[in-house]
Amino acid sequence: MRSSERNTTLITAVTLAVAALGAWGAINSYLVSAAYSQQYPDAYGGDRAQVRFTPLTAKIPASAELGYITDLDPSQPAYAPAFLSAQYAVAPRGLATVNAQTRPEFAVGNFSRPSDFAALGEAHGYAMVQDFGNGVILFHRL
């Protein structure tokens, strides 16, 4: 086989291989993505948070700064996702963790399990105003 023929054969083979493998790579990417999406719909909790917080946001002005009270400890892996999705759901209202320096007039409770929400609010200096279900509570500063 002449060198130019070998070169032509190699180019033909590689071109066809890249066309096939490139397409297969995209198909494989879709299969992985579709399976992941099916297994973990709303993996980041954005949609769930929107649904849970909508009744509360309807009662609070858009300009409000809200405190944040939760039963999750900041060291728990679930803490950051819960806070960030709540922050997105209540925006443009501000959201800040309640502490000695930050005590807005209203606070949002974002709880992961049923509990005595009124007592948890009082521990932070807030009185429970309304329970919206799904662990979402509106508190008012005492």
Binding site: G22, W24, G25, S29, A34
Partner: protein
């Protein structure tokens, strides 16, 4: 997305296209469709970029509402269209025609088209599956880009929350007050056009933006190569990007990284075209892309500075003036935002030089960061369809352009290398846990550079059309004084 949102989006894209068409008129050599696709994808950077800048100033002046946004977009569209009209008229008056070079045929182009079509279908399905599962986007979409867009579109002083360090509940790395506002501004302006707070911040707006920027980066990669080098190379580049997991997985994330990748690629494509023919308009367009690249993410700044430096070296004083003028909108807006509006700083930067030096001195961090980048490249695709593997096969089969041409094009990699070096350096000095920082960001950094790296690789690769001997073709010859042509069979290498 309501009707006004669609109109706002259409006006933004159309204004970008007019601008790209006006400024890049002489850049495209290949078939007409390649130039058209390249213009549209460059327009998808220019239009939204300039619109987000105008929107930022409207927001800062507390004047952003449905009416002001629509009037502003109309003015942008009218201005861009007028510029295009004027330039195309001037060119026609001078009798200058855009010469389309005849495309040489590669006999396996059909196979590449089939591969690209299949890959494109599954890329679209991939995007649809990911967007349906997470309409609000991934983490940073919710906690940074779309969140800030909500603040911008809410009217009054609420936009200042977008540039406040109070976001994220004081968690490390959760607040990014200094991040530029291209993407958030572009999404915010559409939400404002839809009615702002009352519109309910429709999720379809950031989804459409994500699709626009991902497909534009994809289209520009292949179309620019197809236009300026060869159709076969353009198709091969599309295949390599479409099988890149690092690209596909980011396309529906609603992040700024693929937009950043589009800006990097756009700047490089235009710089390369400008080097080919010293055209002030092309240099202006390259400058615009360079300036907009630093209005997207902080990583755009080292790229922009490096691109300006190589432009000064390559195009001398006259050229750098054009590039600098083009870059002004992006640079100035970023400076205004950072100097006058941002509160606080990034939590991951060391507060003193001593702290930074102590971190740099840790040899383990150098390895850790290098391994992080290595792993991200490894994860960029699957084993047998890995883009690096496919690129290596192409390099073996096609080979590279002659050394002289390689050296002549090498300067184009400098902005990419400078950006990669800056990103690597950030890992060396970050105050956040290095493992966490690398694992949560390195694949996105690679995604920013990926389209440009593929483009640069194909710029260095020989064209398949060059490597295959021409097939025997009938050759037309002049026969006799009548000038009639007869056909004869035979080989010709000319």
């Amino acid at each position: 997305m309501n009707v006004l949102g669609v109109i706002a989006l259409a006006m933004t894209i159309a204004s970008g296209w007019f601008l790209a068409r006006a400024l890049t008129r002489n850049a495209w050599k290949g078939p007409r469709w390649t130039g058209l696709l390249a213009e549209l994808s460059i327009g998808a950077l220019f239009g939204p970029g300039l619109a987000s800048i105008l929107y930022f100033f409207l927001v800062a002046a507390k004047a952003a509402n449905r009416a002001s946004v629509m009037v502003t977009l109309l003015a942008l569209l009218a201005g861009s269209a007028a510029l295009w009209w004027r330039i195309s008229g001037a060119v026609e008056q001078k009798g200058v025609k855009q010469a389309a070079e005849p495309a040489r045929a590669f006999r396996l182009t059909w196979a590449l088209w089939i591969g690209v079509a299949v890959a494109l279908i599954f890329f679209t399905l991939d995007f649809q599956a990911a967007s349906s599962a997470n309409p609000a986007g991934e983490w940073d979409a919710m906690s940074i880009w779309n969140l800030r867009a909500r603040y911008l579109a809410s009217g009054g002083d609420l936009w200042r929350r977008a540039v406040s360090s109070d976001l994220g509940g004081n968690m490390a790395g959760a607040a990014h007050p200094g991040y530029p506002l291209f993407l958030s501004g572009f999404i915010g302006l559409q939400w404002s056009a839809e009615g702002g707070l009352e519109s309910g911040f429709e999720a379809s707006v950031p989804i459409a933006a994500s699709l626009l920027f991902a497909t534009s980066a994809l289209i520009l990669l292949g179309a620019s190569l197809a236009s300026r080098r060869s159709i076969a190379l353009g198709l091969l580049a599309w295949l390599i990007l479409l099988c890149s997991e690092v690209f596909a997985s980011q396309s529906a994330a609603q992040y700024s990284d693929l937009l950043q990748g589009l800006a990097f690629l756009c700047a490089l494509v235009l710089l390369e075209a400008a080097a080919d023919r010293a055209d002030a308009r092309l240099l202006l367009a390259a400058g615009l892309a360079i300036g907009l690249s630093c209005w997207i993410k902080n990583e755009g700044l080292p790229f922009a500075l490096a691109a300006l430096a190589v432009s000064a070296w390559r195009f001398r004083l006259r050229g750098i003036v054009s590039v600098g003028l083009g870059a002004l909108p992006g640079f100035l807006t970023l400076a205004v935002m950072k100097l006058f509006f941002v509160h606080g700083s990034e939590a991951v930067f060391p507060s003193t030089v001593g702290e930074a030096m102590a971190k740099i001195a840790g040899a383990g961090r150098w390895w850790q960061a290098a391994l992080g980048f290595g792993k991200a490249v490894y994860d960029a695709g699957n084993l047998w369809t890995h883009p690096v593997l496919l690129a290596a096969l192409l390099a073996i089969a096609l080979g590279f352009v002659p050394a002289k041409e390689r050296r002549a094009r090498l300067w184009l990699v400098i902005p990419i290398a400078a950006t990669a070096a800056a990103e690597y350096s950030l890992y060396l000095v970050t105050t956040a846990d290095l493992n966490w920082h690398i694992s949560t960001s390195v694949s996105r950094l690679v995604a920013q550079l990926w389209p440009s790296l593929i483009w640069f690789f194909f710029l260095m690769l020989r064209q398949p059309e060059e490597t295959i001997e021409p097939e025997l073709e009938p050759v037309a010859v002049r026969s006799g004084p009548s000038g009639k042509r007869k056909r004869r069979g035979g080989a010709s290498l000319n």
